[in-house]
């Protein structure tokens, strides 16, 4: 599951930043280069289904009959749907090796180049082994942030989001994280609400 069981103790460790990092090796069999890449077949099918759905809606669209018009509101959507369908078919029959070669190419350079250039912030983001789960988690956090935006108010929701995400993504100077997470939402709120008259939701806070 995780190759980073020492995580909780890292904050205390003095030598964390100087410790050489191992290049990241996936355990789940999905490399970042492979994640979210699909074959032309899959993509063509997906785009084609979308085009068919779009066309069905286009043909259900009512015509405008009050005054005679040369171009109905549904005319352009119908043509767009047809064009997209044709493009989907073309995509379906495209050759696949393009992506694989690109992936292989970037994998081979990745392994060498990342090790050669260990910048202080080149620490890998996130904690999960499978990049697909990581992306899912990130999008989930974004959705949660959006959902809490109005109930909690801008300041609280943003502080919560900034703090937890920065910590989760692996930034270790927790004092900086806390300062940014607490001061920035307030500064933005003040600038937007009182400076520019753009009212952000205040939530339970009294201002």
């Amino acid at each position: 599951m995780s190759d980073r069981t020492t995580t909780p103790n890292e904050a205390a460790a003095e030598t964390v930043r100087s410790r050489p990092r191992r290049p990241w090796r996936p355990r789940a069999g999905v490399t970042p280069e492979q994640a979210f890449r699909f074959s032309p077949r899959t993509m063509g099918t997906a785009v084609g289904l979308f085009a068919i759905g779009y066309l069905v809606l286009a043909f259900q669209m009512p015509d405008y009959t009050a005054v005679s018009v040369p171009v109905q509101p549904s005319t352009l959507p119908r043509w767009l749907g047809v064009v997209l369908l044709v493009l989907a078919v073309l995509l379906f029959f495209q050759r696949a090796p393009v992506d694989e070669a690109a992936a292989a190419d970037s994998t081979s350079t990745d392994g060498t180049s990342t090790d050669a250039d260990p910048a202080q912030d080149a620490a890998r983001l996130g904690r999960l082994a499978d990049p697909r789960l990581e992306i899912g988690l990130f999008v989930g956090a974004l959705v949660a942030y959006v959902a809490l935006f109005e109930p909690l108010g801008f300041v609280l929701a943003t502080a919560l989001y900034l703090g937890s995400m920065t910590w989760y993504l692996g930034y270790r100077r927790h004092l900086v994280t806390a300062t940014v997470a607490l001061s920035l939402p307030f500064a933005l709120y003040a600038a937007m609400t009182w400076g520019l008259g753009v009212v952000l939701p205040s939530g339970p806070l009294p201002f």
Partner: protein, 524 residues
């Protein structure tokens, strides 16, 4: 001669300490607001209107004009450093500016942007002064037929933006046009693709899509790479060698002229200008296949064009009272609030204002250059932010930008959705730029097409029989031809040998960069 006197009179207005201060404030505020991803010239001007209210009208428009070009420059800064263009006009800048930044040449990219913006702005002002009256009377004869042809020409830029896979580029553009059609149809009030959601009746705001498919998708790609790859080196020197200046000079000059004329035409504006000049330079340049990988010319061309176009869009505003773009529409609103009605009579009735604004644009260009070149290292500090901090921050800025525009949580959901779509597109080699282009031009194209057909009584021949429209359409067709031939050839070759060596070289390019080169042929 009379014009020179007028201009000198204009300078005497623009160079009063008070107006000089307002130019300075405007340019600085515009740059700072423009740097924030998501806040473009439109929001910048809208935000500054309350401050301009109560000022003397000439000073007010001088300041607001300063905000306008300051915001455009600020937008290119965030395009180059973050790949997060908040403004459509600077999308094209990110194609080469961001790769340059990734290669540690952010300083040079920003310096090129500043210099070519300055050149574009200056040439634009000269053009504004020289041919405002004549050209405006030509453009006023443009009807919907000509506008439709102009939009079609703009859309053909998709081909050069589409990377090495024409089908994917076209799919992206079609989806962009589809997105533009969502909402209440402006001519018949029939709702299209709103799924009975009242939030969609007004259509999908451009900013949401742009922030989603560019900024959010960029963050997701960063996360997927685990923050590795494309390692950033700090900003190196800003200094450009004489040779580099020599290389970017011709594209800058050409694009300035092209940008100015595009900006003069209402509805076209900075965005179309930057895309047009980018694809033009890509075709002209001998090293055109390195566009999209950090070619300095790819930064200089759109930067010069969008600044020249920003100035050019003042021509119809000041001489006809017709706003040429969304931004000038807001400016027009501001002028009306201040009690000034721009129009054909303004040159005669209120020459102080016209020539004062023209002169202040010269001053503004100089201020922009003097202010921004020294401040570039400060702007570039953004690059030193650790990824783990940067990623959530970009998300927060996107959220604030979208929410500040519409006050709608629904739009935030839309933002997340477009972010996910943009990420999937990037991972699978779909270019995002055609989607944006389709979104911006799609609605305008349909409106003008229907108006033209309404006038002609449903006769489609009108687009070919009107000389200007026929000419524009012919140019559009010609610019499509080479790419189509290449695509057909590529398709055949692919069928014959699915794993031919060419396929491998084709793919060797960029794993998920924005736009790849079209021709995999070696240089020379």
């Amino acid at each position: 001669m009379g014009m020179l006197d007028q201009l000198l009179h204009g300078f005497s207005i623009a160079l009063t300490p008070q107006n000089l201060l307002f130019v300075l404030i405007g340019v600085l505020a515009g740059t700072v607001i423009g740097i924030l991803p998501g806040l473009g010239p439109m929001s910048a001007i809208a935000l500054m209107i309350p401050i301009a209210y109560g000022m003397e009208p000439t000073s007010a428009i001088i300041m607001l004009a300063g905000v306008y070009y300051g915001a455009i420059f600020g937008g290119s800064t965030s395009s180059i450093l973050l790949n997060a263009p908040g403004v459509a006009g600077t999308v094209a800048t990110s194609f080469d500016g961001y790769p340059m930044a990734l290669r540690g040449r952010a300083g040079k990219a920003l310096a090129i942007a500043a210099i070519s913006s300055f050149v574009g702005g200056t040439i634009g002002v000269v053009g504004l002064m020289a041919i405002a009256p004549g050209l405006a009377s030509f453009a006023v004869s443009f009807g919907p037929t000509e506008y439709f042809a102009l939009m079609v020409l703009g859309l053909t830029a998709v081909v050069s933006l589409g990377g090495n896979n024409l089908v994917k580029g076209l799919i992206s553009a079609v989806v962009g046009v589809m997105t533009a059609l969502v909402g209440i149809d402006s001519q018949t009030a029939i709702v299209r693709y709103t799924f009975d959601l009242p939030e969609l009746y007004e259509g999908v705001e451009f900013l949401i899509v742009a922030l989603g498919v560019f900024a959010l998708a960029e963050v997701l790609v960063m996360l997927n790479r685990r923050g590795q790859g494309g390692a950033r080196k700090g900003v190196t020197s800003l200094r450009l060698s004489g040779r580099e200046l020599g290389r970017i000079a011709p594209p800058t000059l050409r694009s300035s002229v092209l940008g100015f004329f595009t900006g003069v035409l209402p509805g076209a504006g900075a965005t179309v200008a930057s895309f047009l000049s980018y694809s033009m330079e890509k075709k002209i340049a001998r090293d055109g296949d390195t566009f999209g990988q950090g070619n300095p010319k790819g930064v200089a061309a759109p930067e010069a064009a969008n600044n020249a176009a920003a100035v050019g869009s003042f021509v119809p505003l000041m001489t006809l009272g017709v706003p040429g773009s969304g931004t000038t529409a807001i400016l027009l609103g501001a002028l009306l609030v201040l009690g000034v009605t721009p129009g054909p009579t303004m040159l005669a009735d209120n020459p102080d204002m016209f020539w004062g604004v023209v002169a202040s644009m010269y001053v503004g260009s100089v201020v922009l250059l003097v202010l921004n070149l020294p401040l570039i290292p400060v702007f570039a500090k953004v690059l030193n932010t650790p990824r783990a901090v940067l990623v959530p921050l970009v998300v927060v800025f996107c959220v604030v930008g979208v929410y500040g525009l519409s006050f709608s949580v629904f739009d935030l959901g839309l933002l997340a959705a477009f972010g996910a779509v943009g990420f999937l597109m990037r991972r699978n080699g779909f270019p995002a730029a055609p989607l944006i282009l389709g979104l911006i031009l799609g609605g305008l194209m349909e409106t003008n097409m229907r108006r033209a057909l309404q006038i002609s009584g449903g006769d489609w021949g009108v687009f070919a029989s009107e000389p200007i429209s026929a000419g524009l359409l012919a140019v559009a067709l010609l610019s499509l031809l080479p790419a189509l031939v290449r695509a057909v050839r590529g398709l055949r070759r692919g069928r014959v040998g699915p794993s031919s060596p060419e396929a491998a070289t084709d793919a060797g390019a960029v794993p998920d960069g924005g736009s790849e080169d079209q021709a995999p042929t070696p240089r020379g």
